[in-house]
Symmetry: none
Subunit: 424 residues, 2 copies
Amino acid sequence: MKIEIISTGDELITGQILDTNANWLCQQLFSQGLQPQRLHTVADNLNDLVTLFTEASQRSDIVLVNGGLGPTSDDLSAQAAAAAMHVPVELNQAWLDVMKQKFAERGRVMAKTNIKQAMLPQGCDVIDNANGTACGFSFTFNQARFYFTPGVPHEFKHMFSTQIWPDIATRFALNNKLVQYKITTFGLGESAIDALIQDVTIPAQLHLGYRTASPEIEVKLISSDADIIKQVAQQIEQKLADYVIFTSDESDSSAEKIQHLMLAKQATLALAESCTGGMIASSLVAIAGSSGYLDRAMVTYSNQAKQDLVQVSADTLSSHGAVSEATAIEMAQGAKLSAKSDYALSVTGIAGPGGGSALKPVGTVAFALATPTETYSQMLVLPGKNRTMTRKIACAIALDMLRRHLQGLAVYGHYDFAPKWQAH
Amino acid sequence: MKIEIISTGDELITGQILDTNANWLCQQLFSQGLQPQRLHTVADNLNDLVTLFTEASQRSDIVLVNGGLGPTSDDLSAQAAAAAMHVPVELNQAWLDVMKQKFAERGRVMAKTNIKQAMLPQGCDVIDNANGTACGFSFTFNQARFYFTPGVPHEFKHMFSTQIWPDIATRFALNNKLVQYKITTFGLGESAIDALIQDVTIPAQLHLGYRTASPEIEVKLISSDADIIKQVAQQIEQKLADYVIFTSDESDSSAEKIQHLMLAKQATLALAESCTGGMIASSLVAIAGSSGYLDRAMVTYSNQAKQDLVQVSADTLSSHGAVSEATAIEMAQGAKLSAKSDYALSVTGIAGPGGGSALKPVGTVAFALATPTETYSQMLVLPGKNRTMTRKIACAIALDMLRRHLQGLAVYGHYDFAPKWQAH
């Protein structure tokens, strides 16, 4: 079966945004055992769209078109589809009514320009959009079934999963579903992972791939045979041991894994963050139900805040500095005390680009984990090339210390990219 | 001038990696005033590649091909290029010698399979690769100039910048660099913006576009004439008035704009966050130099934390609830007091999916801004469909209140998507 994906939009052609929608669509298709023959990206240009739709209609079975369904004049997908098929666009009264109702529910009056979003190629089928005012639509043109969706990611994904894929599966009687299993690791580079698992035999029916989701790396196993996946996964997880932070059968993110572990222990957590500046807290709060174990976080950005909120002593700050294991330890212990929590994590470091010195270069970050019985600490030198990436790695290391402790593993992992800090 | 970009590789078609190379190339071209007509992504399949190369050769002036130059059997770009032109591939002795030397320098022996990387379409020009063993190559086929590069990002980028772009600029005598200007807005949907600026005349030499960077919307002006951009921008900014949160000549993000305003006032800020859970702090800390005004943030997730850290009274919590203007006001005032800061912002709300009620549905969020002289507060009902998006909008509204105050505008904006909460 031949599939093409067409993404439209000047913001793609000018490189302003990455086409994550097409990438997601490829993943969805691949998980069903399908691969598109071609992906296209075209600008918001009527002639180019008409030409491409016509070409695609003559060589493919399925054409998925994303973008260009907004209310503004540079949204041309419906008009181009109609022009390619030599039919008019016409008002779809049913969708106009839905739109008016959506606006009314939000206490708003629909602007006249929005009517454009109910002007569809004559004879097409409407695809409902539960999350927005741009409906999708589908039709058969020459040999291909076309599906049009808006470019807003959460609208598009929901429409594909709930309506378009079921329609495709029925229409083309598909059932060769692939199973995908992900092992998410932290602390090793791709080649180090590769070296560790080189003795694992990969059967021909199984596809092994890597995906970097900085700073984590996912090892993906894909096959139509769930048993083979299970068997190979077991061997790989054994080889990668404590670098595995979670697998796709248990959670979707490091924060979710932490939540599972904390709730299972019925324990509570407090945070004291400096250079991460709330990033750890925010990543944990992203998971619904985090209030079940997270009590509070103190973003102690200034030295005064470190003294006020988590009782770091002025002595420690002046003799060891704000970025030191001594300060991190007092931050974690102070946070634990403030919240009367079972655990506390702290991070203090130099995210850059300024603030580094010969002794403590940009990327130097101290961590502490206070547990019910003791406090662990370490100071590492993270790759300090980029402020955001340094903070993300710091966030990952802090959570990794907690995960390791909760799983009964060594608290201090060896991280390929973050050697221990050493006073020269 | 017509340009196409062709990316090859199964890892793109299966969605395993995002095509950041094509995106980078689009950015490079755009900065030179050029836009490709089409981007294609194709699998490692000989027939598909030959067909596409042939088509592109007949309609474009420049074709940039990325990927498929490795030593393995699924790397087919050179073979496909030769087949399309009906010429043989032949050994390029000069590049083979370079490769052998590269291996020797690293103390390695070249595997026989690598010879494939010196087998190039007859008559092509070699493009040197300073960072790897896969050379690029270029040739003219029908009306188009083709440039082939390997997919490894740093190899490809270096080759494009140092050899391919200079060749294109010379060959096509290019010098029409485009200027881009962005007006970032918050509070209005795309159609509302469109309606507000409909009276502004857009000259033919100027391209106007929208980009949604949820929850913000960017209005983009692109032209080779900086004066025209300036003139139109002025009119649009006047129409959009206080919905404009920043423009590209002053900052790159809302957080950076806040930083500019706060540093200019030499004022300090504290935060008390509940449902946003550190997201506001983290977004501000992302900007280097934020320690110049941000003193601390308290993520008061539990009721106890609200009492301990920002002195919300137990009475207020029991009579008004944690999600109320009364609580938000005490949070902001308590944060300001704790930090002895000039300003404080607070947010407390129901991010969902659980925790909503008939009176206070998911998405109900209370905000307060404490200034040196008074405290402002409001409670709004945000679209509560997605926990992360609700938190992002809450973050944006809190920062918008501060920005508006610092700019001398009304603190309470009218947000299309977030009506005031009303006790029924």
